[in-house]
């Protein structure tokens, strides 16, 4: 039997403590999209090193004498996220290969929209220098203006477009 989710306020409090510990120990916040970027940069550099070194986007991360982009803080943090979420799913009986979709959405369509949503997040997170975790949540914790601007833009837009996309979820 699947266990119930934790009380959201309690979970938020614990999440806040993890973030606070991160800031206190390392001086920086948590993130997620940065690891995805590292994977992309490492792949492009592995497949086409000359292209990577000549492109203004990749050039600052790769090149002679630079550490592999995969040896980055966020890559290790995200490996931790994978393990932590897996342990949580294991003890709460939630490990299951399944596609989750709104009641009127077929599996294939859900995959397509999930892929599209991921792609938009990948692009948006580059402009905003971070996603919901790295820019919005971590930015808000250190009272950065960017954190609040990004948070309001993400959720404001979410509400603005939710009605048009309601068939996906309700």
């Amino acid at each position: 039997m699947e266990k119930k989710y934790m009380n959201p306020y309690l979970a938020g409090f614990f999440l806040g403590l993890v973030l606070l510990a991160t800031i206190f120990v390392t001086g920086r916040g948590l993130g997620a999209s940065g690891a995805i970027k590292s994977i992309v940069v490492a792949t492009v550099d592995g497949v086409a090193p000359t292209h990577a070194e000549s492109s203004p986007f990749y050039a600052s991360y790769v090149g002679p004498g630079k550490e592999s982009p995969l040896k980055a803080w966020l890559v290790f943090e995200v490996i931790g996220v994978l393990i932590g979420a897996f342990i949580s799913g294991l003890i709460s009986n939630r490990l299951k290969v399944v596609t989750e979709a709104g009641p009127k959405v077929k599996t294939r369509l859900r995959w397509l929209f999930a892929f599209g949503g991921g792609a938009l997040f990948g692009i948006g997170a580059q402009f905003a220098r971070g996603c919901t975790s790295g820019a919005a949540l971590s930015g808000m914790a250190v009272l950065s203006t960017a954190g609040f601007v990004t948070m309001m833009a993400i959720f404001g837009t979410g509400y603005a477009v939710a009605w048009f996309l309601r068939k996906l979820w309700i």
Binding site: G12, V40, F76, A85, G89, T99, A114, G118, G122, V142
Partner: protein, 397 residues
């Protein structure tokens, strides 16, 4: 004092720290239900406000904790990474991500959690994220100018709004608690299976009220730096707390003797310091005493910290601030900089005091005048060491 990177935690160890912190991050996100896209999307349709509750509680907790750690001097707020602002790219990036959130039902962090417990849609989301970043990278020259535009640096939201950090924290807490109450009402009307139906009223009310009280405490906290500097500079405090003094002749003697166990802290303005300073002195203004980088310098107990300032009361306040910050073995220069300048640096006619040491003092000052001025000249000819470019903490996504 935190943060412990890069001084106490090496680059390698920091990666292990990242793994452990990530583990906690992933565990809590999954326990909160962030591994379910339907639950996440609920925030936009009113049937499940878990995202709002977890996200804002976490933001309030981490923000209040950061402010409190800074206030108690446990965390150097100037050393932590403040996400820099590129205003319009942040807005446009947020808009693109907002559409992606509703379409995909995840954000990157939550998709990684969901992927870990086997959600296939989350795997597609992560795949889409990889393609999205690649797409952005390949077309980068098209919007590079926009990407780098409206760079405002690491600005803080309370400065942008012109209020104190504490007041902003209170406003955010009140807005968050208000939003929790309102959205719970909406959620119960929208869905008969809403998570909030099982909430017990009393503990939630107590938590809400105590958070607002915490916000009020944050407003009432004075800025620690201003507060401490204000306290130690008040004339009454200075009168009650005498500090040990060092005669200019003694300091001159120790300089000539090249005594290693002495640290001359010149608190005068950078400009005065540049114009004329004692050999081997360090220019650290009083407000700079709080920085983490000064800890190793000031905390050497066997080294006497001699404060040199424009006036004795400046020196005394700075010295008392060192005591407040927990440093010991201090002294101030008697008569401040002007007196040592008059008696040693400038050639002054020695006025005999009638003491039996008159001849010795006259001779010492004459030697000191020559030698110390030679040392000052020698120091001027040396190219000043560039201030150590302290490894700046990198962050962000």
């Amino acid at each position: 004092m935190g943060p412990f990177v890069p001084e106490f935690i090496s680059e390698q160890l920091n990666l292990i720290v990242a793994l452990v912190l990530g583990l906690g991050f992933g565990f809590v996100l999954e326990q909160a239900g962030f591994s379910s896209s339907r639950k996440l999307a609920g925030v936009f349709y009113g049937y499940d406000f878990t995202v709002l509750r977890v996200f804002f509680t976490a933001a309030v907790t981490a923000m209040s904790g950061t402010i409190l750690l800074g206030y108690f001097g446990l965390l150097d707020l100037e050393a932590i990474y403040i996400n820099p602002t590129w205003l319009w790219p942040a807005v446009i990036g947020g808009v693109i991500m907002g559409v992606g959130f509703v379409l995909g039902g995840y954000c990157p962090g939550t998709s990684i959690c969901a992927m870990a417990i086997g959600k296939v849609d989350a795997m597609f989301f992560v795949g889409g994220g990889i393609v999205g970043v690649f797409f952005f990278g390949e077309l980068y020259p098209l919007y590079q100018t926009f990407y780098e535009s409206s760079a405002l640096g690491p600005i803080t939201v309370f400065n942008s709004l012109g209020i104190s950090a504490g007041l902003f924290a209170l406003v955010l807490i009140v807005v968050a608690v208000g939003a929790f109450a309102v959205t719970t009402l909406i959620e119960r009307k929208t869905s008969s299976t809403a998570p909030s139906i099982s909430f017990k009223k009393l503990p939630h009310r107590i938590a809400g009220v105590s958070t607002i009280v915490l916000g009020m405490v944050l407003v009432a906290l004075p800025n620690r730096k201003d507060h401490l500097i204000g306290t130690v500079s008040s004339p009454a405090y200075l009168a009650q707390n005498p500090v040990s003094m060092m005669e200019p002749d003694e300091l001159a003697f120790r300089i000539l003797d090249k005594e290693p166990n002495i640290l001359i802290v010149d608190i005068r303005s950078a400009e005065d310091f540049k114009n004329l300073r004692l050999p081997g002195s360090n220019n650290i203004q009083t407000a700079g005493f709080f920085a983490k980088e000064q800890v190793p310098l000031f905390s050497q107990r066997h080294v006497k910290k001699v404060i040199v300032g424009a006036t004795e009361s400046d020196e005394q306040a700075a010295c008392l601030l060192l005591h407040e910050l927990g440093y010991e073995n201090t002294a101030i220069l008697k008569g401040a900089f002007p007196q040592i300048k008059a008696t040693i640096l400038d050639k002054a006619e020695y006025a005999p005091t009638g003491s039996r040491w008159d001849a010795d003092v006259r001779e010492f000052r004459a030697t000191a005048h020559l030698e110390i001025n030679k040392m000052i000249l020698a120091e001027q000819n040396v190219v000043p060491k560039a201030p150590k470019a302290g490894k700046k903490i990198a962050g962000g996504c």
